[in-house]
Subunit: 122 residues, 2 copies
Amino acid sequence: VNSRAIIKSKQTQKEVNGISTQVVCTEFSNYIFVVVTQFGKIGTLVSVTPDSRCNDLSTPTFTTKVLLGKDEPMTHVCAKNLSTFVSLEAANRPILLGLALKESSKDSIQHFKEMIKSCQVS
Amino acid sequence: VNSRAIIKSKQTQKEVNGISTQVVCTEFSNYIFVVVTQFGKIGTLVSVTPDSRCNDLSTPTFTTKVLLGKDEPMTHVCAKNLSTFVSLEAANRPILLGLALKESSKDSIQHFKEMIKSCQVS
């Protein structure tokens, strides 16, 4: 009988530039599921896969693919930006990222990163 | 300032025909996210959208679409089967369903349904 640890999930809520923002992180063995939402919605769903690297000195790069919702250039930029350090801490696991943002200024993105960090599951 | 209730998430774990099975349900305003996993993985990701109905007497029907993973006929059958009552209780909201199953016998599906019911979030 295979007894497995329960699936880890954490969430946090914060005002970011006056906008109520929720972050939920859930850890699966093959994916980290992260939702950043300012609408309560799951939003645009993006898979973020780290590209394999030849050496560890290079900056990590990602392949992003919109699975659900509007496929806009800004979504890919945000997804790559938010994923960089999540992926590093998650040993290069791919990320399933839901984004439902009212605004995505550089400053807000920084806050989202901190929120994701505070509910890091792996 | 928009103060919103925290995102509701529940999970349960059980042996189904000798296989350790986890179910996680998370409620977003536009989707119910449900994962049924026997591998700890998120598995095949399927969007399940209820078709609009002309009258309430008809059996609900769904459109299923594989977003991530192998697109197999059995996945669509399982997804529709598991979604019927989730969707009814979730006021016809679409479901984002992750399925990572070692086996999907009729008996197991019935157990999965009960597990989903026990961690109903809406």
